[in-house]
Amino acid sequence: MIITVTLSPAIDKVYWVDHLKIGEITQDSFLTRATRSLTSAGGKGINVSILLARLHVESVAMGFVAGHTGHVVVRDLRDEGITTNFVWTHGETRTNVTILERGREHIPIKVNESSNRVTPVEIDRFFRRFRRIVPNAKWVVLGGVLPPGAPPDVYRQITSIANQHGARVVITAGGRALAESLLACPYLVKPDLRENVSFEGTPVATVNEIIAAGRKIISCGVEMIIMSHEVTGDIVITKDAVWEIQARIQTTQLKNLVGADDALLGGILYKLDRGAPVEDALRFGMATGILSAESEEKICRNIDKIESEMDLISLERLEG
């Protein structure tokens, strides 16, 4: 069984517009009408669960939900066939808005609400539920920002419990939440560098800087780290090797980048769970991420095309 944990889930609302009007002064000119829109449950762990469900893999989605939007999240996941196990809290689950302007879809405008605050009692409820089901888990995926009120070492605590039960932990997060989690040795880490292109004060822009930062994380006991390099390329570092993985497509072909990183991670997890070699898992994961970015829907539905998309993926072993 795979457990995904999204402590700050969201409703992802995506609007497509022909032209985004900003700074106009009359109503006719400042009103931007969406040509279409999509609403779906979101958050990093949830996106991984959605991808897995579309690959016919069962998962249990955990975290905190609240209010009307919380019910939208839960309903969406159940419709996908995902088992839900959320702690209900006060307030309202956040909504994240993405605006995609025609011709500039690869440069989305994103407005993310703050996460709903959680209390120590609610955190305790989460841990009790997690402990109950983690003995059946093979993998635990932790993703996204921490809600206000959550202890900064919450990912480290979850990782420690999962490790005690023999489950492998995958983390996609940033900042202190990620740094703390490394102390508990997760299996796979994908740092979220969207808002901060540095890791523990070290810049991570060039390939060499990325490899140096990755090695630092590997030295903490992590088995594999995936670092975003370009929109269509990542650097992957393990104890024995370094790979550069690249999709040979134009960024203008990308229609919706929201969730593509999570689809990539879900694709890698899908293959690793089946015992595939790392190289196969990486190519499959990148193909899944790119296919998602090429589709208007956040996570690709046309999973039968993943294999053919793999023809566009190059994997170069840089070291090892």
Partner: protein
């Protein structure tokens, strides 16, 4: 058709020591008429419903009345509810729980839901662990 093919895949549940105050919050926010009670191994050990809580808050002589209109006001109920809100769920839960197995035939779930007039029934696996529930609407959805 098997139960696991139609069930609502939700593990919302509480531990036996959760307070009635917390329980009311969860029932309200999760919009559930009842909630399974599980042990540390996620095995079903009871169920507690809105009806159980209302009954616990009613005066002891309520069952002897022909109509709720004989209760002069709701003050007594409010006082009794205030007295039990810090009780653990296990004090008021039903320990004998109707349930079905994930691999049971849907007819088994339908039979219990209809004959016992219940809104939903918990689903467990072979180890008695909670894996979901079948709601009345789940019996209808596959056919539309």
């Amino acid at each position: 058709m098997k139960v696991h093919e139609i069930m609502t895949r939700d593990l919302t549940s509480v531990e036996a020591d959760v307070t009635i105050r917390e329980l009311i919050f969860i029932l309200d926010n999760a919009r559930m008429p009842n909630i399974p009670v599980v042990n540390d191994a996620n095995q079903l050990i009871g169920i507690i419903s809105e009806k159980d809580l209302i009954r616990a808050a009613l005066p002891g002589y309520f069952d002897m009345l022909h109509s709720a209109s004989f209760i002069p006001d709701l003050n007594q109920m409010a006082k009794r509810l205030a007295a039990i809100v810090d009780d653990p769920a296990e004090k008021h839960m039903q320990r004998s729980v109707l349930h079905v197995l994930a691999d049971d035939d849907v007819l088994q779930a339908a039979d219990l839901i209809i004959r016992k007039d219940i809104s939903n029934i918990p689903v467990v696996n072979g180890e008695g662990q909670l894996v979901g529930r079948v709601k009345r609407i789940d019996l209808l959805k596959p056919y539309i």
